[in-house]
């Protein structure tokens, strides 16, 4: 399937911008986002949807971009960590990660950011414990989990105070 490099042109909605790109027919979303859109935050690591470093939002839902064909997602809004920030203004999740130093080597961190953001948007009543359970699907080998949880706890209490 790969040798012919059969290409197709698709229109993708990435980080609020609609763009036409030429892709290989069976290209995965992570390949497209990295190669065609130059988005560094999306990183293929395990290749089988386990580790979470390629997490992006598809219409707001967290998905593994290594396990999706780009052609499957041409009618969805795709959001990466870069797209959560608004220019110089970081998203609340990103601010919380910065505040709690929730980064070490940082390879997994954008995926974590996207996952926390998606969880809080999709589950408006999510508890800290539920968020922790959901984050179990994003792996961090440095063991930054304590700081990530501190950031998550802050976000939940900020939401509770606001709500």
């Amino acid at each position: 399937m790969a040798e012919a490099e059969e290409t197709v042109t698709v229109t993708l909605d990435v980080n609020g911008e609609s763009r036409e790109v030429e892709i290989v027919a069976d290209e995965t979303l992570v390949e497209t986002l990295r190669r065609r859109f130059g988005l560094r935050s999306v990183r293929a690591t395990c290749g089988i949807g386990i580790c979470g470093t390629c997490t992006v939002q598809l219409d707001g839902l967290a998905v593994s971009s290594c396990s999706l064909l780009t052609q499957q997602v041409t009618d969805a809004e795709i959001t990466t960590s870069e797209g959560l920030a608004d220019g110089d203004d970081l998203a609340a999740v990103q601010e919380a990660f910065l505040e709690h130093r929730a980064y070490q080597c940082s390879y997994c961190i954008p995926g974590m950011v996207v996952a926390v953001d998606a969880c809080m948007k999709n589950r408006p009543d999510v508890t800290f414990e539920e968020l922790r359970e959901e984050l179990a699907g994003n792996l961090c080998r440095c063991g930054t989990y304590p700081q990530i949880l501190e950031a998550a706890r802050d976000l939940i209490s900020a939401r509770n105070q606001a709500g």
């Binding site: 949807g49 998905v63 593994s64 396990s67 969880c119 959901e134 699907g137 994003n138």
Partner: protein, 255 residues
């Protein structure tokens, strides 16, 4: 998709059904939950009707893989993949769920138990697709135990689903299915039928657990040897039955 990435299948053409809204969502037909084929596991797990009428199914769907998998995986896809180590099939089989299957010759229905026929094998014929999964809501209590022997993110070493309806203190109906231990989910109605009319006390629970442990010939893999799985079947069938007894308030229900 993963099988494709790993080179296990190399399809010339893929057909996506995900834009068919009619195949998505949960409804109630009499007392049966009707899960549209393309309803994601996330949506099944969060659905109020499922949570009320089949909480063990909601829980099992919530325990599959990670949130990204659950957001994409569908209930029909879960059945059709026939993965021995997946969580929902054991619950679906315990609840007597049926698949609605559309094929070139029309529509038919088949119990999930008969649709899954082996390791990644189903009885679906060429040209057939599952359009819905129908889940009866007969039990007054149901439960699912996912036992993981390694990291929290591991797949089950043993998964046990159990469901019961009681008439007073008596067991009117009891079903138990053990997943992730053999090629197919294991349900032995003769074992559970034998205790109908009795009380789900500690002796009965131990008797059913022992019978399941004896009957199942488990596989061996990195999550546990056959010897270990046999032991875990006994432990988790017993614990699942304790849940049911506890939910029903059986005297001395929980040790």
């Amino acid at each position: 998709m993963l099988m494709m990435r790993q080179g296990l299948v190399d399809p010339a053409r893929l057909v996506s059904l995900e834009r068919l809204d009619a195949l998505r969502g949960v409804s109630l037909d009499d007392n049966t939950l009707v899960l549209g084929a393309c309803t994601s596991l996330t949506d099944v797990a969060a659905d109020d009707q499922v949570l009320q009428r089949a909480p063990s199914l909601a829980y099992a769907c919530q325990r599959v893989g990670n949130v990204r998998v659950r957001n994409r995986a569908t209930i029909a896809g879960n059945v059709a993949e026939a993965d021995y180590a997946s969580d929902p099939p054991a619950v679906l089989i315990t609840l007597d769920a049926e698949c609605v299957i559309q094929g070139p010759g029309g529509e038919r229905r088949a119990p999930v138990r008969e649709v899954i026929t082996g390791f990644y094998e189903t009885s679906l014929a060429e040209g057939e697709v599952i359009t819905a999964v129908r889940v009866p809501t007969w039990p007054s209590a149901s439960t699912y135990h996912k036992y993981i022997s390694r990291s929290s993110e591991d797949r089950p070493c043993v998964g046990v689903a159990a469901a019961a309806r009681f008439a007073g203190d008596e067991i009117a109906r009891l079903t138990v299915t053990v997943g992730a231990t053999a090629e197919l989910p294991q349900r032995f109605d003769d074992v559970t039928d034998a205790v109908h009319g009795g009380v789900l006390d500690a002796d009965t629970r131990a008797q059913v657990a022992a019978a399941y442990a004896e009957r199942i010939e488990p596989i061996s893999d990195a999550r546990g040897s056959a010897w270990y799985r046999t032991r875990m079947v006994e432990v988790f069938v017993r614990r699942a039955l304790e849940d049911l007894a506890h939910a029903h308030g059986v005297a001395g229900g929980v040790r």
